[in-house]
């Protein structure tokens, strides 16, 4: 068995020896270097573009929107984002022109000889400004998208309540900060265009390239190079870079490399949506929630891009892992003149998780109920019904994760002893003016696309076996560090009874692998992994039928690489594969995703089974606050997550630990600083992510409540850990200092204000 084992990752050796090839490592003959010329203002009309007449432009390829053979938009949901601005710009860093030349030096020099003048218009830069509608920049009211989710009778719910508790919570932008900056290479070949680069979703790029150049499926070829991290940041934006590189390559008739430096990457590419979330909750004396009204506003930025789906996931997750029979959720996304916000691990859920968990802390404090007890009273259990009216049928690990996190961290005991110790320290006036605190958070995450997304997408994947008997997986799901290539091989090895070493994955190239849907939404293992498993099963059945006929055996089994009938070995898998291929040319099968039975979703009313299943998490953070400097240090995080089944425990832990630290950054450190619509801390010296010294000790507990429709019981794992750390840390800071922080990150400056206000 390979599943459940910590096999060496397939891409391990090449990554550890420096042999893995990332996009910037490629050197092609005659390749030019490209650069994007961007808007310096947040909103306005382009008056004139001047190319310095004294400069020698013969060495420079220039392209603008008029050079696009197809339509000038980036294919996504609304198609409202131009590939290159025409007459108006709607955010700073919006692409206007493209240039390419022989070297980076030359292209940078040429860029300094281009001047763009604008008629500036007054921009909307924040959620508040957009809602105030002093300017209208989208539709009639600046609202990009609106959802309403309702269940029960909210008014009656509030009437039943003994107390009504309100709270407002604010969450910031966050930069994905993959360590490999974005980049693409485009290679024109006759009519065809090949694009290779760093990306999560080859078929998104494929769609964009086809549209822009009016190409057929076969004429556009997209290949993913080894990708140095994505976290959602390489979901939609690579389509833009690929199209830019391709446009330059199309004009130059030469390969063009377009690699962002860090400053450009932070300034121009999508961020996590900032938001303002308000809760109004009716609570009974015993702590039961009887009415929950939630208002969510996200800042979508200047174009629609992925905002409607981010908002949808945010709205659906906004009640958290809690039960309440009377619910009204109103979610809006507004347009602003800032770079479009987009996908980032968690996709709307980390924002609302900070809000619902801090609101639980607030309810607990105001009602005088222990925060852990309050969560237990309201937690969802198997058979319960969620805000969208979904009855939880299977794989509900809520109770288990909460118990594990609480027991393993000794939460209750520490909460008591720390409170006493803090009082003693305060009384003694010790020289080290520090307070400790412990806090918890409880959360869930729906795996796969929302609602009917997966049944519409119909993800496809295939498995083929070559003449040596080696299985090869054909899937557009990408390896971005999370372990796709390894876990798919484990799944196929076990389904075929083959050795893990013999299985590998085909290169992610759209001319060779089918569309398995994007590598997003915690869907790769649970959804595509399932399809891969079914394809392996199908190819096995094909071969079994062949063997049964060949040996005239009624019942054939494949056991550890050998075909067996009635306890007798007939032939090796490799032998039969060779014969099959000799006869039929190839041995391959594809499978397609089908939703589990009884899954229903009403897109009109936004109700029903929002996700086939949820993953569950609970987290305990232990902090120390320096009362002289207001710095918060996270000493330990204990996190328990129910992910159905860990196909590869070390990889699963790696997802949880990495996601947790990214969430520590979200909760404590990471913040963009803006000046008139422009990010001014777009460098690694001033956009602060956690280093090894900022990393707490982590204890990870994997809970396995198997999901009957996932591969070997697996559910999603990628995004869940992003939801837990920020509220757990803020709860611990509350415990340590008494300061209730309703806005992240909990910077020293923010904590200082909160302490001075209280």
């Amino acid at each position: 068995m390979a599943v459940g084992q910590n096999v060496y990752r397939k891409d391990g050796h090449e990554k550890l020896t420096g042999a893995a090839r990332y996009v910037d490592d490629a050197a092609l003959d005659r390749m030019l270097v490209g650069k994007t010329i961007r808007s310096h203002i947040a909103r306005g009309r382009i008056k004139a573009i001047t190319f310095d007449p004294a400069y020698d432009w013969s060495r420079v390829i220039r392209a603008d929107y008029r050079d696009i053979p197809g339509k000038n938009y980036v294919a996504l949901i609304e198609n409202d984002q131009p590939l290159l601005a025409e007459s108006e710009v709607r955010h700073c860093e919006e692409p206007i022109l493209l240039i390419a030349a022989e070297s980076k030096l030359l292209v940078e020099e040429a860029a300094r000889h281009i001047h763009i003048s604008y008629e500036e218009l007054s921009p909307l830069l924040t959620i508040e400004e957009s809602l105030a509608c002093a300017e209208i920049i989208y539709g009639t009211d600046n609202i990009i998208k609106r959802f309403l989710i309702g269940r029960g009778d909210i008014d009656e719910g509030f009437e039943q309540a003994d107390r009504i508790i309100e709270g407002e919570y604010r969450v910031p932008h966050q930069e994905q900060l993959y360590i490999e900056p974005q980049g693409m290479i485009a290679i024109p070949r006759g009519e065809a265009m090949t694009v290779m680069g760093s990306m999560q979703c080859p078929y998104y790029v494929h769609k964009a390239i086809k549209q822009l150049f009016n190409l057929s499926d076969e004429q556009a070829i997209v290949i993913q190079t080894t990708t140095g991290g994505g976290f959602g940041g390489k979901e939609d934006y690579p389509s833009v870079i690929a199209a830019h590189a391709a446009l330059l390559a199309y004009k130059a008739r030469r390969p063009v490399k377009l690699i962002y430096d860090r400053a450009e990457d932070i300034a121009a590419t999508p961020k996590r949506h900032p938001g303002i979330i308000r809760h109004r909750t009716g609570v009974r004396r015993d702590g039961r929630m009887v009415a929950s009204e939630i208002d969510i506003v996200f800042d979508g930025g200047a174009y629609v891009t992925l905002t409607p789906v981010v908002l949808s996931r945010g709205a659906i997750h906004s009640l958290g892992p809690y039960r309440c029979d009377n619910v009204r959720i109103h979610a809006r996304a507004v347009a602003t003149n800032t770079p479009p916000n987009g996908a980032f691990r968690g996709f709307g859920a980390p924002q609302v998780a900070f809000a619902y968990e801090m609101h639980m802390e607030k309810i607990a404090a105001e009602m005088g109920i222990d925060p852990l007890e309050l969560r237990r009273i309201n937690m969802l259990r198997e058979g319960d019904i969620t805000a969208t009216g979904q009855q939880l049928k299977w794989s509900v690990g809520a109770e288990e994760v909460l118990s594990e996190a609480v027991e393993r961290s000794a939460y209750r005991e520490k909460r008591r002893s720390i409170s006493e110790a803090n009082r003693a320290v305060q009384a003694a006036g010790a020289e080290d003016n520090k307070r400790r605190g412990i806090g918890l958070s409880f959360f869930l995450h729906g795996a796969g696309f929302t609602g009917s997304g997966e049944s519409k997408m119909k993800a496809r994947a295939g498995v083929e076996i070559n003449a040596e008997g080696r299985p090869r997986i054909l899937s557009g799901s990408t390896e971005i560090g999370q372990g796709t290539r390894t876990i798919f091989c484990q799944i196929v090895a076990d389904e075929l009874g083959a050795s893990f070493a013999d299985v590998d994955m085909e290169e992610p190239d759209t001319s060779r692998v089918p569309d398995s849907g994007p590598t997003v939404a915690s869907r790769t293992c649970m959804i595509v992994g399932r399809v891969v498993q079914l394809a392996a099963r199908e190819v096995k059945e094909k071969l079994k039928r062949f063997v049964a006929e060949r040996y005239a055996a009624p019942e054939v089994e494949l056991i550890e690489g050998n075909f067996v009938a009635g306890g007798k070995r007939l032939a090796a898998l490799s032998e039969m594969a060779r014969e099959y291929i000799a006869q039929f040319g190839e041995l391959r099968a594809y499978a397609e995703y089908a939703s589990p039975p009884d899954i229903e979703w009403d897109e009109e009313n936004y109700s029903g089974d929002a996700y086939p299943v949820y993953s569950w998490g609970a987290e305990v953070a232990e902090v120390e606050v320096d009362m002289d400097t207001y710095e918060v240090r996270v000493h330990k995080i204990t996190v328990a997550q129910d992910i159905g089944r860990a196909i590869h425990p070390i990889l699963a832990e790696g997802q949880i630990e990495g996601g947790t630290l990214q969430a520590v950054g979200y909760g404590l450190l990471e913040e963009l600083v803006w000046d008139r619509g422009r990010i001014i801390n777009n460098r690694l010296t001033n956009y602060i992510i956690p280093t090894s010294l900022d990393t707490p000790e982590m204890e990870t507990i994997i809970v396995e409540k198997q999901y009957p429709h996932g591969p070997f019981g697996a559910k999603g794992v990628g995004e869940l850990p992003m939801n837990g750390a920020a509220p757990a840390i803020a709860a611990a800071v509350l415990h340590a200092t008494g300061a209730f922080i309703n806005e992240i990150p909990v910077t020293p400056e923010r904590l200082q204000s909160a302490l001075e206000d209280s």
Partner: protein, 152 residues
């Protein structure tokens, strides 16, 4: 200018502008692309190489300062097809995910173990504090370095 130095034990000679970054010299002139660029300002450590026994950021060293030095890059860690104990430990512990920080991380860890055979967890954290990783949360990297130190 003509510059001579040693990379992974082999003598190399290049003709490069004196202010060319060592990082570009390795990647472009010598096609040693294992050394990565993540920021170009000495913050992320992806471009770490060992020069005369010390780990440095190759994006901050100009060509004119490397004459006669001895360097180790990630390509020089494995010997005769055998992985360095650190590489082996990273493989076993899950120290590499997307892999982009891995070469620099291995180099920083190598520099640590070359001067301190049995580092504590805190010493390991300090030694890799100049190498940013966004995938792992550092836990498995620290585990791997600890394991490699034990194995040596």
């Amino acid at each position: 200018m003509i510059i001579q130095f040693y990379v992974n034990g082999a003598k190399r000679q290049v003709d490069a502008p004196p202010m060319k970054r060592l990082l570009d010299l390795l990647r472009e002139d010598l096609r040693l692309t294992g050394t990565k660029e993540g920021c170009g300002e000495g913050e992320c450590g992806a471009c770490s190489v060992i020069v005369d026994g010390e780990v440095i950021n190759s994006c901050l060293v100009p060509a004119c300062q490397i004459e006669g030095t001895e360097m180790i890059t990630v390509e020089g860690l494995a010997k005769d097809g055998r992985l360095d104990p650190l590489q082996q430990a990273f493989l076993e512990c899950g120290g590499a995910q997307c892999g982009i920080c891995t070469p620099g991380m291995l180099i920083a860890a190598r520099a640590l173990l070359d001067t301190c055979a049995r580092p504590t967890r805190d010493q390991i954290k300090e030694a890799i504090a100049g190498n940013l990783c966004r995938c792992t949360g550092y836990v498995k990297i620290i585990d791997a370095i600890e394991q490699a130190a034990r194995a040596a």
